[in-house]
Each structure stands twice: as structure tokens, then as C-alpha cells.
């Protein structure tokens, strides 16, 4: 379980996150949604300690991520897997080397064991036989899959996905969403997804947090989101043409 408590962050005097709190439960796919510029990615970076918040804390199963020495922090980091928006694959390494990289750096596994683990993860994301290709030779959707494979290669307890659908066609987006959901259920991990894609919200959102201008405005799930009457949430949800037509009964 991940717990964020009263996270606040500002840049150059502009408040980006204002007292945001929430709980992301184990075995659930939790979504942080909101329009662009509402602080979703900053919240993720605060949770990963890539950006240190001015106030508040993040607890990983009760362990405060912002206190303790580097070794304590490294122990928690070993339990994290992160899918970055663009995949963040290392350009100079092949797909196989990218997925194997955390094992090389953070474990003492033998070469054979590492190879098996990488092949399992690539198989799990449906990329058998692509290990020798370079990131520049694969599509955007495949990059995301490789990013997921790299994120799960260390058997993480916590999986973070930053806009996993950005730049993808609707069909590939759905497949990526399904993959994230399947992995969460299969490995019983705590998954946090940053998104503004309503398809994702409705299909994989076990728990949804809506951010508006840096504040948490609403919390619920994919069943309750369509019936709620918070104006800012309604505006966000029903700006989608299909959903607005559905709401109007057409």
C-alpha cells in the first residue's frame, strides 16, 4: 500500500500541488486523473522522490520515503517499477539489454538466470523475439511494452505508469491498459497510473483520484465517476463526445 499525506509543491511561487492526500491499495489499479497542468506528473515525481515536495510525505507500506539514508531508500526503490511517458528506454541498448539493465545493476543473478527472467518478461508483454532490436527500430506501443517489461523485471511491489496511453492509437491504448490491469492482478502489486484517458478511467480504474488545479477534488471508482455531480469532474469526464452523447441518451 502507498499512502501520500498532505503533499504540497510549488515552482517559482506557483502552487502546483496543494495538500494532496490519498491511499493506493495493494492489488488495485489506482488512477490519478485530471486535465493537463493539474499536477499529476509532479505528484508522481514527488512519490518517486524525483522532485522533493515542500510539505507532506509518501509512505510505502508504512516506510517514509523521504527520511532515512540512501540504502533505506534504495531498498524501497528496488521494489518499484516505473513506466515513463515516452518509455525512457536507453537508446544505446537493445530491447533485451534495456529489460536486463535493472538486473545487471541491482542483483547478483547469473547470466542464465537473467536471460530467463528477461525472456519471461518480454513474453509476458507479448514481445517474444524482439530482444535484439534497438529502441529506434520499434513502434511507440512496443516501446511502452518494453517499458512495462523493464518495470516488472525486478518483481516490483509498486508499479507506476505515467500516461501509458499518450501517443498511442485507441486499440493499442486498450491493449496497454489491459496489460497493466492483468499484471496488477497477476502479481498482486500496487499500481498507480497517471492518465487523462477516459477509456482507461472506465476500464481499469479500481480507485480514481481527480486532481483539479493542484488539489484533490474527488475520489471514487469507475462505477461512480459517471454519476457524480462535481462540476469540474463533470466537465472533465463529459468533454468526451461519446460520453456526452451517452449521457444525453443518444
Amino acid at each position: 500500500m502507498i499512502e501520500i499525506k498532505n503533499i504540497s509543491k510549488s515552482f517559482n511561487g506557483r502552487q502546483v500541488l496543494d495538500n494532496v492526500s490519498g491511499v493506493f491499495k495493494k492489488g488495485e489499479t489506482s488512477l490519478v486523473i485530471g486535465a493537463s497542468g493539474t499536477g499529476k506528473s509532479v505528484l508522481l515525481k514527488c512519490m518517486l522522490d524525483l522532485v522533493r515536495p515542500e510539505a507532506g510525505t509518501t509512505l510505502y507500506d508504512g516506510r517514509d520515503f523521504y527520511v532515512g539514508d540512501e540504502e533505506d531508500k534504495k531498498d524501497i526503490r528496488r521494489e518499484m517499477g516505473v513506466l515513463f511517458q515516452g518509455g525512457a528506454l536507453f537508446d544505446s541498448k537493445t530491447v533485451h539489454e534495456n529489460v536486463q539493465f535493472p538486473l545487471d545493476m541491482l542483483t547478483k543473478m547469473g547470466e542464465g538466470e537473467k536471460k530467463d527472467r528477461v525472456e519471461f518478461c518480454l513474453h509476458r508483454v507479448g514481445l517474444d523475439g524482439t530482444g535484439s532490436r534497438m529502441p529506434s527500430e520499434i513502434s511507440g506501443g512496443m516501446k511502452k511494452r518494453v517499458g512495462i517489461a523493464r518495470a516488472i523485471v525486478m518483481n516490483p511491489k509498486y508499479l507506476f505508469c505515467d500516461e501509458p496511453n499518450s501517443g498511442l492509437d485507441p486499440l493499442t491504448s486498450i491493449k496497454i491498459d489491459e496489460l497493466i490491469k492483468e499484471i496488477t492482478d497477476e502479481f498482486d502489486i500496487t499500481t498507480v497510473v497517471i492518465t487523462h484517458d477516459m477509456n482507461s478511467v472506465l476500464s481499469i480504474g479500481d480507485n480514481i483520484m481527480f486532481l483539479y488545479k493542484g488539489k484533490k477534488l474527488w475520489e471514487g471508482n469507475s462505477q461512480t465517476i459517471l454519476g457524480d455531480t462535481v462540476p469540474e469532474l463533470e466537465e472533465f469526464v463529459f468533454c468526451n463526445k461519446a460520453l456526452s452523447l451517452m449521457r444525453a441518451g443518444k
Binding site: D91, P102, M105
Partner: protein, 243 residues
């Protein structure tokens, strides 16, 4: 300006904390030696040969007095090559090639979140990415300076003898005349210092890139400009210290 220097010094300090294993650095060090050193041999050789040749021709053209012996031409080629051209001039050229490459690579890694990916894994990205580049520069720049010095003198010999400016015997005599071995040492020391400055300043510019492709280009330009300025200032200080 002072805050930038302060951030640069903090960045340098970051390279030496939370280091990875020796094996990780060794593999990256070899890769960087190839990328920084071996891939620069061609440009260094071309520049050295032609600059040596030009110094020989220009010196002869300006030494028209009959009282000055002809071997002074190769004497000047030797000292200019060892003291300035093989280290300072070569490093200004390398600041363009290596510096822009380092800043561009790290800047791109920064804006595409590859550096964040390393940090999330608990890896000290600055140390993992920059320290091998620094060590490779400090190791290969002196070797390039030695190659450059040799080829510069050879360039002068070829230009001088093939055009009939100076005989081979006079050129060799001038090269040997009043030779100070310490000058080779000065060239090597300079190359080590310049290698350190170029790699760290360029890495600092690239590592702190914010924004997109435009900012990566700006970081590369700043890396070359600042490296050249640092090399020239260090050149003056070393000249005062070592000669």
C-alpha cells in the same frame, strides 16, 4: 555566475558518491575511451599534420634574415607544437567534437526521462553516466596530445622538405637542438587538465538541460563555448605555473 560555479562544484561532488561497482565502471570506461579517444584520432591527426605544416611554412616565410640559421624553423615548429598546438589547440578542437557530443547525449537522456529512469532504480545517474566519460577523457586526451605532437612535427617535416624550404638534415638538427624534455611533460599535464574541464563542463551543461530539442542544442553550444573559455584560462594559468 557564482551560483553556476557552486552548482558545478556540487555536480562534481555528486560524481564520487554512491558509486556503482568497479565492473560497471570498467565496461563503461572502455566504451567511453572508444567514443572519446579512438574516434577522435582521425580529426586530431588531420589537424596536427596541417597545423605543423602551416607553422613550418609561415615561420620560414617570416624568417628572412641571413643571420638566423635555417634549423630555427624546425626548432620553432617543435616548441610551438609541444607547448601549445598539441595540447591547447587540439583540446579546443576536441571541445567542439567531444564536448558537444557529451552535452547532446546527456541533454537528450535528460529530456527523454532516461536519467529519471536511472534515478528511480536507485542508481546515481551523474556518477554512472559522467564518471566514465571523465576518466576516459583524462586518460585519452594525453595520448591524443602525444599523437598530435608527433604528427605536428611530422607535418612540418613533410611540408618543409617536400617544398624545399629546409633540408631533412637541418630539420632533424633543429628538432634535436636545445630540446627540453620537460616540455613533453607540460603538454601531457595540460591535456589531462583540459580533458577534465571539457568532460565535466560539457556533462554539467547536458545533465542540467530542461525543456526539449531546442534546449539540447543550446546546451551543446554552451558546452563548447564554456569549455573553450575554461581551456584558455587554464592554459594561461598552467603557462604561468609550469614555465
Amino acid at each position: 555566475m557564482l551560483s553556476v560555479v557552486g552548482r558545478y562544484l556540487i555536480f562534481l561532488g555528486k560524481l564520487f558518491v554512491r558509486r556503482e561497482t568497479f565492473k560497471v565502471y570498467w565496461e563503461r570506461f572502455i566504451d567511453e575511451c572508444i567514443a572519446i579517444g579512438i574516434s577522435s584520432v582521425f580529426i586530431v591527426a588531420i589537424v596536427a599534420v596541417f597545423i605543423g605544416a602551416v607553422v613550418c611554412v609561415q615561420t620560414r616565410a617570416n624568417l628572412v634574415s641571413p643571420v638566423i640559421p635555417i634549423y630555427v624553423v624546425s626548432n620553432i615548429v617543435r616548441d610551438m607544437t609541444l607547448l601549445e598546438l598539441s595540447s591547447t589547440f587540439m583540446c579546443v578542437v576536441l571541445a567542439g567534437k567531444v564536448g558537444s557530443n557529451i552535452a547532446g547525449e546527456l541533454g537528450t537522456m535528460k529530456i527523454t526521462e532516461q536519467i529519471d529512469a536511472l534515478e528511480v532504480m536507485g542508481i546515481n545517474s551523474a556518477s554512472y553516466l559522467v564518471l566514465p566519460k571523465l576518466l576516459a577523457s583524462v586518460f585519452t586526451f594525453p595520448l591524443l596530445a602525444i599523437i598530435s605532437g608527433f604528427l605536428g612535427i611530422l607535418g612540418g617535416y613533410l611540408a618543409g622538405t617536400l617544398s624545399g624550404i629546409i633540408t631533412p638534415e637541418d630539420y632533424i638538427y633543429g628538432i634535436r637542438y636545445s630540446f627540453i624534455p620537460f616540455n613533453v611533460f607540460i603538454s601531457i599535464i595540460k591535456a589531462i587538465v583540459f580533458g577534465f574541464l571539457i568532460s565535466t563542463i560539457s556533462a554539467f551543461q547536458g545533465y542540467n538541460t530542461r525543456g526539449g530539442a531546442l534546449e539540447v542544442g543550446q546546451a551543446s553550444t554552451s558546452a563548447v563555448t564554456n569549455s573553450c573559455i575554461a581551456v584558455l584560462i587554464a592554459d594561461y594559468l598552467l603557462a604561468e605555473l609550469l614555465t
